[in-house]
């Protein structure tokens, strides 16, 4: 079932959580709402669920207006950040709850409920814990129970509010992969809220980057990472170095470096900021035509798939560079060494366009 949010605005007192947000989620895809706290992502999720009511705007499920439908009628599955398991019920009773409260006419029989719950518990690999209470489970187990509970009523849409936020790093990673596989198996439309960009990029089909109540960019993980539409998106996803420069006509100037910039400012000189990812910076031992700046290696960490360095520029700034192990060995890089940095690509944002 597809979800459409149109022109949603929501304020809490003096605080505006969402400003005229429009979003579409296609049937069967898993979309991540990614952003810092206060960006409005959880509010949007709760509005879709029916747990909050927007000041204006509408929500459509499969083209039908659901804005006035109560939570109980929306048939969405919601997984809370802190699980919200019913603490006095066993795991089995928790998962069976949604089925047991259905109106008589459509409620399945006791045996059907039992079969369905057992199947779900097997799906989340918790069938051996069916008679435990939530207080006896670990965080990761509780979250899987919460997921099974949400799936029990066969919702058309699955909404997850920072489901792995309260968990350990390792548990988070495992559950992330597990969720991805689960989604491929069940294929229900899903919306996931997270502030962890690694999570969003790894799990989602499309990522919606949000900031201060607005959507900054919507796209596949590759799109938002490699082709960020705004400064915020670039900053938020991955590390970035910032350089100050000018745009004049169809040329951009960063330090001594002059670059072609076809869609530049038509009149006069515009001060801009250029963004470069650490792995888009190349290290040379000699200056060249496209050298951006010079610096000394202040810190070097070769323990990892890539070699990470911190360079202290002649201006006294720190920039982050990532290079391959091969290059590091080839150049025999070491702390204190004087090197020259050349960018493969600099991103500049004028207004909302990227170049």
């Amino acid at each position: 079932m597809s979800i459409e949010a149109r022109n949603i605005t929501k304020t809490f007192g003096a605080f505006t959580a969402l400003r005229d947000v429009t979003l579409e989620v296609r049937t069967g895809e898993l979309v991540a709402l990614l952003g810092p706290s206060g960006s409005g992502k959880t509010t949007l999720l709760r509005i879709i669920a029916g747990l909050e009511i927007p000041d204006c705007g509408s929500i459509l499920f499969h083209g039908e207006d659901a804005t006035d439908r109560r939570v109980q009628e929306r048939r969405v599955g919601f997984v809370f950040q802190h699980y919200a398991l019913f603490r006095h019920m066993t795991v089995f009773d928790n998962v069976a709850f949604g089925l047991r409260v259905m109106p008589r006419r459509i409620r399945p029989t006791r045996d059907e409920i039992r079969a369905r719950v057992q199947k779900l518990l097997a799906l989340v690999q918790l069938d051996f814990l069916a008679n435990r209470y939530p207080s006896q489970l670990s965080g990761g187990q509780r979250q899987r129970v919460a997921l099974a509970r949400a799936l029990a009523v066969e919702p058309k849409v699955l909404l997850l509010d920072e489901p792995f936020g309260a968990l350990d790093a390792k548990v988070r990673q495992e559950l992330r992969r597990w969720l991805r596989r689960l989604h491929e198996e069940i294929n229900v439309t899903g919306v996931l809220v997270t502030h962890d960009q690694e999570e969003a990029l790894e799990v989602a089909d499309r990522v919606v980057v949000m900031n201060a109540g607005r959507i900054e960019q919507v796209g596949t993980p590759e799109e938002v990472f490699h082709h960020p539409a705004t400064e915020f998106v670039m900053h938020f996803l991955g590390h970035v170095n910032v350089f100050h420069g000018r745009v004049e006509g169809d040329k951009a100037f960063f330090g001594a470096l002059e670059l072609e910039y076809p869609n530049g400012a038509s009149t006069g000189s515009l001060a801009v900021r250029g963004f470069v990812r650490p792995h888009d910076l190349e290290i040379d031992l000699q200056p060249g035509e496209t050298t951006l700046l010079e610096g000394t290696i202040a810190h070097l960490n070769a323990a990892g798939p890539q070699v990470k360095m911190e360079l202290l520029t002649v201006m006294g700034e720190i920039i982050h560079v990532e290079t391959t192990q091969e290059r590091y060995r080839a150049l025999n890089l070491a702390r204190g060494q004087r090197v020259f940095v050349r960018p493969r690509e600099i991103k500049v944002f004028l207004g909302n366009r990227s170049g």
Binding site: R6, E52, I53, P54, C56, G57, T67, D68, V71
Partner: protein
């Protein structure tokens, strides 16, 4: 397409039962509490100011204020000192039957006031267990002293239960650091611990005081109820009602209510002061 919000939508609640629960609760509360209290206020407004004043300042009434408020004050003060000791001992030390004694501290709260009244009278009257020991130098029953005893009983749990949680939350490290800086035990107590307890002690005092000024059942047996000597204000109200002097009873009630509300406000402020001090320790 921009959909403006609809009137009905704004008031909708997510969880069910708001209207029903609040509606019933307000209805019940109004019928049982608010309207009857309102009737009192309205009634008192019907009296002329002169009549009101002469009623509430009659000599017998003034004597009853002195007793009710005075004994309540002394009782609450006694509770602050000894109740504080009780709280300290219950929190800090271990001794046999501690848990039992801890549970019994709430007795004045759960015991009917009349039962407390007759029990205290029996003990403190001249041939009672304690009374006979003190006779003839000190008479407790049928004197203001008896009233003080009764009001101390009534207020006992308030100070203890207000101070206990504060003592329990007190960080041992504060005392340890005072000791490491050279303070002896007395200095530590006076300079470090006691300041932490002031808000709770003050709140407990106010609560015990507020409770005691209106107390009736546990006092009237031991007081003796002699006009101008051992009559408490609630008893005067009762007497006026028996004589169908509704106006007089109402006037006195208004005075007592005014005092109670001022105290309630004071207690509210004290509790806020107390919780601010407590939360300062990373609650």
């Amino acid at each position: 397409m921009d959909r403006p919000s609809r009137r009905g939508r704004r008031k909708r609640r997510i969880l069910p039962g708001f209207g029903l629960s609040l509606g019933f609760a307000l209805l019940y509360f109004s019928l049982i509490v608010l309207i009857p209290l309102g009737a009192l206020i309205v009634r008192s407004a019907g009296m002329s100011l002169g009549q009101f004043w002469s009623t509430v300042t009659a000599p017998r009434v003034l004597a009853s204020y002195r007793l009710s408020f005075g004994a309540a004050f002394v009782g609450a003060a006694i509770n602050v000192v000894f109740g504080g000791v009780v709280a300290w001992v219950l929190v800090r030390y271990r001794f046999p039957l501690r848990k039992l004694i801890d549970a019994l501290v709430d007795l004045p709260f759960a015991l009917p006031t009349a039962v407390a009244g007759i029990a205290l009278t029996t003990i403190y009257c001249t041939n009672g267990w304690i009374g006979r020991l003190l006779d003839p130098h000190v008479r407790v029953a049928f004197t203001p002293l008896g009233v003080i005893v009764a009001l101390t009983f009534i207020g006992l749990p308030f100070v203890v239960r207000t101070v206990q949680p504060v003592l329990e939350d007190l960080d041992a490290e504060i005392e340890e650091s005072a000791a490491s800086l050279g303070a002896n035990r007395r200095q530590t107590f006076v300079r470090v611990i006691l300041p932490e307890l002031w808000p709770a002690l003050a709140t407990g005092f106010a609560l015990a005081f507020a409770r005691a000024i209106g107390e009736y059942g546990s006092v009237i047996f031991i007081a003796g109820n002699m006009p101008m000597k051992t009559e408490i204000t609630p008893l005067l109200i009762w007497i006026k009602l028996e004589q169908f002097d509704y106006a007089g009873a109402t006037a006195l009630a208004v005075v007592m209510l005014a005092a109670s509300f001022v105290l309630l406000l004071l207690i509210n402020l004290l509790q806020r002061w107390a919780s601010r001090r407590q939360h300062a320790y990373g609650d």
